[in-house]
C-alpha cells in the first residue's frame, strides 16, 4: 500500500502489521499506525473498527498476536499501563475513574510518592504539585480533593499527571464526550501547548468538526483493518466517511417483506438524560432500525421507554392510548419488552438455570397458583427452546454454561414468553457468533410477521440496513433524519448517507 514506503521520516510511534484476535474474532488485521513527534494524530472509524484495541495494545492492556511497535526509534513492548507510562506513553481514558478521596497532589503522584524514609513527604509533594498546577493555570490548589472537581478538571489532572511523568505520547480517547463547549476550548488550548512542547497526541473522536480543527493527520480504520492516513489539509469530510464505510452492503440478511399494519406504539417529544425531543412511531409488523454512534442517546431513549431510567418530558402511546411507565414491570404488563445490550448485567442471572431465567418476567402473569406449576413451565420453556433452536442438553443447566448466541436466545425467550406487542432489541447480535446471528435475524422477521412491532438498535450499519423497514438516525441525543427501506433498495440512500447523518450531517 501507499503507506508502506515510509522509511525515511522520523516517527515517535511506529506500529507495523499489528494483528490481534479474541477467540474467533479478528479484532485487528495487519494494522499500521505512524505518529510524528509533536503532532495531533486523529483516529477515525465506526464502533468496533479496532481503534480501542490498537490503543490497548500500545499501552499494554492487550498483547498483539503479530506485528511490532517502535517508540522513539526503539523496539517497544509494555506489559501494562505502568510500563507504558515508564516508557513515556500515557492514555486518558474516556471514562475517568479517579479516586474521589485523594487530593490532586496525591492523585498526580500516585505510585511515585515523595517519601522521607518510610513516611510520605506530603509537604514536598504538595509543593511539587503546586508548581505543575501553576504552569497549567489550574484553578484549584494541590490539596483539593478529586471529588470536588468537575469532569473537565479531573481530565486536566490526568493530563497534568501524564505530563509530569514526562510522557512524549498521550492517547486521548473521546476526551470531549462529556465536556461542554467552553471546557472543550480549554482542552484544545492545552493540546496546542502540549504540541509546542513536542508531545505527540493520538486523538480518538467521533466528532468530525473537532478532528478537522485540531489534528494534523488522520488515520481511518474499518472492521479491524487500517484503511489509510491523510493529512488534514485537503481532505474532505465526505472522503473520510467513504473511507470509513468502504464495503458494500451484502444482501445476506433474511429480511422478508411482511404486511405492515396500524401504528402500535408512538412516542411524542420524549426527553430524558442523554436524549431530547424524540418522536417516532412503529407499526404492527414493522422493524424499526435505530442507528447512530454509541452514546448518541439511542439506548438511553429505549431504556427510559422500558422504565429503567426516568423520562423528563413527552408522552408515550400504546395502541392509541397514552401510558405511563416508571418501572420495567409496568412496561412488561403493557406488552413492551426490551432485550438489553448488556446481557451479562441486565439480561441473565448466570448461576440460575435456563428455565428460571426464561420464565422470570412472566411468573406473575402465568403462574397464578401459590405453588409453581413446573410442568406447565417446562412445557413453555421446551417449546420456546425448540422454536429458537436453543442448543443445550437440558433447560436445568446454568445459563452460564451456554455460548453467547444461546444466552441471547434465552434472553429472547424470556421476552417472547411475555407475548410482547412491542419488542425492543438493543444490539441483539452483539457478542454472538455468525451462525446464531443469522438465526436471530430470521427470528426477528418471524416476530414481525406475527404482528409484533420490533425496534432494533444496532451499531452495525449492514445489520440496520439489511433488517429495517425504516431507520432513524441519532446524533447527539436527537433524531437527525430517517431513511426508508425503499431508499436503500433503490440506492438513493446508502451507508454513507446514514453515517453522514450520524456524524451530524443533514
Amino acid at each position: 500500500m501507499e503507506e508502506k514506503a515510509r522509511a525515511d521520516e522520523a516517527y515517535v510511534l511506529e506500529c507495523r502489521g499489528i494483528s490481534k484476535a479474541f477467540g474467533g474474532t479478528q479484532a485487528l488485521k495487519d494494522v499500521d499506525l505512524f505518529v510524528r513527534p509533536g503532532e495531533v494524530h486523529a483516529l477515525l472509524g465506526e464502533n468496533g473498527a479496532g481503534k480501542s484495541t490498537l490503543m490497548k495494545c500500545i499501552i499494554g492492556l492487550h498483547q498483539q498476536d503479530e506485528g511490532t511497535i517502535r517508540f522513539e526509534g526503539r523496539p517497544y513492548t509494555a506489559r501494562g499501563p505502568v510500563e507504558a507510562l515508564d516508557a513515556g506513553i500515557s492514555m486518558i481514558h474516556q471514562e475517568l475513574n479517579p479516586e474521589p478521596h485523594l487530593t490532586i497532589a496525591e492523585s498526580v503522584f500516585l505510585k511515585r510518592e515523595d517519601t522521607r524514609g518510610i513516611f510520605l513527604n506530603k509537604k514536598a509533594q504538595n509543593e511539587r504539585a503546586e508548581d505543575i498546577l501553576k504552569k497549567f493555570n489550574f484553578p484549584h490548589g494541590a490539596k483539593t480533593l478529586m471529588k470536588e472537581l468537575t469532569l473537565a478538571q479531573m481530565q486536566m489532572v490526568e493530563i497534568i499527571k501524564a505530563v509530569s511523568c514526562n510522557s512524549r505520547l498521550i492517547i486521548m480517547d473521546e476526551p470531549t464526550s462529556s465536556l461542554d463547549s467552553e471546557e472543550t476550548e480549554h482542552l484544545f488550548n492545552t493540546i496546542r501547548e502540549l504540541k509546542e512542547k513536542g508531545v505527540a497526541i493520538i486523538y480518538i473522536s467521533h466528532r468530525m468538526e473537532e478532528i478537522f480543527r485540531i489534528s494534523d493527520h488522520v488515520s481511518v480504520f474499518r472492521d479491524g483493518t487500517y484503511i489509510g492516513e491523510r493529512p488534514m489539509e485537503g481532505v474532505t469530510r465526505d472522503e473520510l466517511i467513504s473511507m470509513m464505510v468502504g464495503r458494500k452492503v451484502e444482501n445476506v440478511f433474511p429480511k422478508t417483506a411482511c404486511d405492515i399494519g396500524d401504528v402500535v406504539f408512538k412516542v411524542e417529544k420524549l426527553s430524558g438524560k442523554g436524549f431530547e425531543d424524540i418522536s417516532f412511531e412503529v407499526r404492527k409488523g414493522e422493524i424499526l432500525g435505530i442507528s447512530g454512534l454509541v452514546g448518541s442517546g439511542r439506548s438511553e431513549t429505549m431504556r427510559a421507554i422500558f422504565g429503567m431510567a426516568p423520562v423528563t418530558g413527552g408522552r408515550i402511546f400504546l395502541e392509541g392510548r397514552e401510558i405511563k411507565i416508571r418501572k420495567p414491570i409496568q412496561a412488561i404488563r403493557h406488552g413492551i419488552c426490551m432485550v438489553n445490550e448488556d446481557r451479562k448485567n441486565y439480561g441473565l442471572a448466570l448461576h440460575r438455570s435456563i428455565r428460571e431465567n426464561m420464565t422470570l418476567p412472566t411468573l406473575p402473569m402465568k403462574q397464578r397458583a401459590p405453588i409453581l406449576n413446573k410442568k406447565q413451565e417446562e412445557k413453555e420453556c421446551l417449546e420456546m427452546g425448540k422454536m429458537l433452536t436453543l442448543k443445550s442438553a437440558s433447560i436445568e443447566h446454568d445459563a452460564f454454561s451456554l455460548s453467547g448466541g444461546n444466552q441471547q436466545k434465552v434472553v429472547l425467550a424470556k421476552w417472547l414468553l411475555a407475548d410482547p406487542k412491542v419488542l425492543i432489541l438493543d444490539e441483539p447480535t452483539r457478542g454472538v457468533d455468525v451462525g446464531a446471528k443469522s438465526e436471530i435475524h430470521s427470528l426477528m422477521c418471524e416476530f414481525a410477521a406475527r404482528g409484533m412491532a420490533v425496534i432494533m438498535i444496532s451499531s452495525e450499519l449492514p445489520e440496520v440496513m439489511g433488517m429495517s423497514d425504516r431507520i432513524l438516525v441519532y446524533h447527539e441525543g436527537k433524531i437527525n433524519g430517517e431513511v426508508s427501506r425503499d431508499e436503500i433498495l433503490s440506492g438513493s440512500a446508502d451507508q454513507e448517507t446514514i453515517l453522514g447523518k450520524a456524524f451530524g450531517g443533514k
Partner: protein, 325 residues
C-alpha cells in the same frame, strides 16, 4: 501409574469433581458421622440422634432465615439479639403479667417479625448495607431486651410453656416437629414459589431482576421479615428449653447460622442456595458440638474445630466448583 492419573477412586477426575461439587457436603457429613461413631459408639444411639436433632432445631430456624438473607447478597446479624428480645417479652408477659401462653407467643413472634420487617425495609428502600443495618438493629434490639427485663433473668415456671421444648409426640420431641415443618415450608418457599425465584434472581443479578420486573423492595423486605419470624420461633424454643427469660442469650448465634449456610453451599456472592444443603450444614454444626462432648474434648476446642471445618468445607467447595468462578 501414569494411567491412573486423572482418576480418583475409580471415577473420572472431572466426574469426581462434579460429584463432590454437588454432594460434597453430604460426603463430609457422612465421614463425620462414621468418624465420631468409631471414636464413641454411643453417638449412634437413637436417643443421641434425637437429642442432636432437638438441639439443632434452634440454630436451624435462624439458619433458614440467614440463608434467605445471604442468598440475596445480604446477612442478618440481628438474629441473636432477636432471641433475647423474644425471651424477655415472653418472660414479662407470662411471668410478669400472667398472660395466656398462646397470646404471649403471638405477641413475641409479632415483635421479632416487625424487627425483621424494619431490617428489610431499611436495606431495600434506602439501599443500605445489610451488614451495617443489622449490626445496628442488633444493638437496639438487645438494648430493648435489657430494658424490658431490667437486666434480670425471669424464671418461667409454667409447665405448659416448658413443654414446648420437652413435650413428645410419640418418641419425637416437639422441636423436631417444628424443625421438620420449617424445613418443608422453607423448601417449598425457596424452590416451589415465585417468591423463591425472585430471591434467587435478586441475589444472582439484581440489575437483571429489576429489568425483568422483579420488585427488589418487596423481595428483600420479605426476606428479612421471614428471618425475623424464624428468629422469633427459635427464641421461643430456646426460652422453653431454659425456662427462663434472659437478655444475654443468643450471643454469637448468628455465627452458627452463617456457618451452617456456608457449609450447605449458600454462596456469599448471592443467588445460590439449597434447603437440603443448609439442613446438612445445620447437622454438621450440631455433630461437632455433640461429638466432641461425647468424646470428651474440652469445649474450648469446639469453636476451633468449627472454624477449621468451615474453612475446609468452603475450600473444598471452591476447588470442586472452580469451573464456575
Amino acid at each position: 501409574m501414569a494411567k491412573d492419573k486423572g482418576r480418583i477412586i475409580g471415577m473420572d477426575r472431572e466426574k469426581f469433581r462434579m460429584f463432590m461439587g454437588k454432594y460434597g457436603i453430604g460426603v463430609i457429613l457422612l465421614i463425620m458421622m462414621v468418624f465420631i461413631s468409631v471414636m464413641e459408639p454411643s453417638f449412634r444411639s437413637t436417643s443421641n440422634m434425637i437429642n442432636v436433632a432437638t438441639q439443632v432445631s434452634i440454630n436451624a430456624m435462624i439458619a433458614y432465615g440467614m440463608c434467605l438473607a445471604i442468598t440475596t447478597e445480604g446477612i442478618d446479624l440481628s438474629v441473636g439479639a432477636q432471641l433475647a428480645l423474644v425471651s424477655c417479652v415472653l418472660g414479662q408477659l407470662i411471668s410478669g403479667k400472667g398472660w395466656n401462653i398462646a397470646a404471649a407467643i403471638i405477641v413475641a413472634l409479632l415483635v421479632s417479625t416487625v424487627w425483621g420487617f424494619i431490617n428489610g425495609f431499611l436495606i431495600s428502600k434506602f439501599n443500605m448495607f445489610p451488614f451495617v443495618v443489622t449490626l445496628s438493629t442488633q444493638l437496639i434490639i438487645r438494648g430493648l431486651a435489657q430494658v424490658i427485663s431490667g437486666g434480670q433473668a425471669i424464671p418461667i415456671t409454667d409447665t405448659a410453656f416448658k413443654s414446648i421444648y420437652s413435650a413428645k409426640i410419640g418418641p419425637v420431641p416437639f422441636p423436631i416437629l417444628v424443625l421438620i415443618l420449617a424445613t418443608f415450608l422453607m423448601y417449598m418457599i425457596l424452590h416451589w414459589t415465585k417468591f423463591g425465584r425472585y430471591v434467587f434472581a435478586v441475589g444472582d443479578n439484581m440489575q437483571a431482576a429489576i429489568a425483568s420486573g422483579v420488585s427488589i423492595i418487596k423481595t428483600k423486605t420479605a426476606v428479612y421479615t421471614i428471618s425475623g419470624l424464624l428468629a422469633g420461633i427459635a427464641g421461643i424454643i430456646f426460652t422453653a428449653k431454659t425456662a427462663s427469660a434472659q437478655s444475654n442469650i443468643g450471643i454469637g448465634y448468628e455465627t452458627d447460622a452463617v456457618a451452617a449456610c456456608v457449609l450447605g453451599g449458600t454462596s456469599f456472592a448471592g443467588g445460590v442456595a439449597t434447603v437440603p444443603g443448609v439442613l446438612m450444614g445445620i447437622f454438621i454444626i450440631g455433630f461437632i458440638y455433640n461429638g466432641m462432648n461425647l468424646i470428651g474434648i474440652d469445649s474450648y476446642y469446639q469453636s476451633m474445630t468449627k472454624g477449621a471445618v468451615i474453612i475446609g468445607a468452603v475450600l473444598l467447595d471452591m476447588v470442586m466448583n472452580k469451573k464456575n468462578s
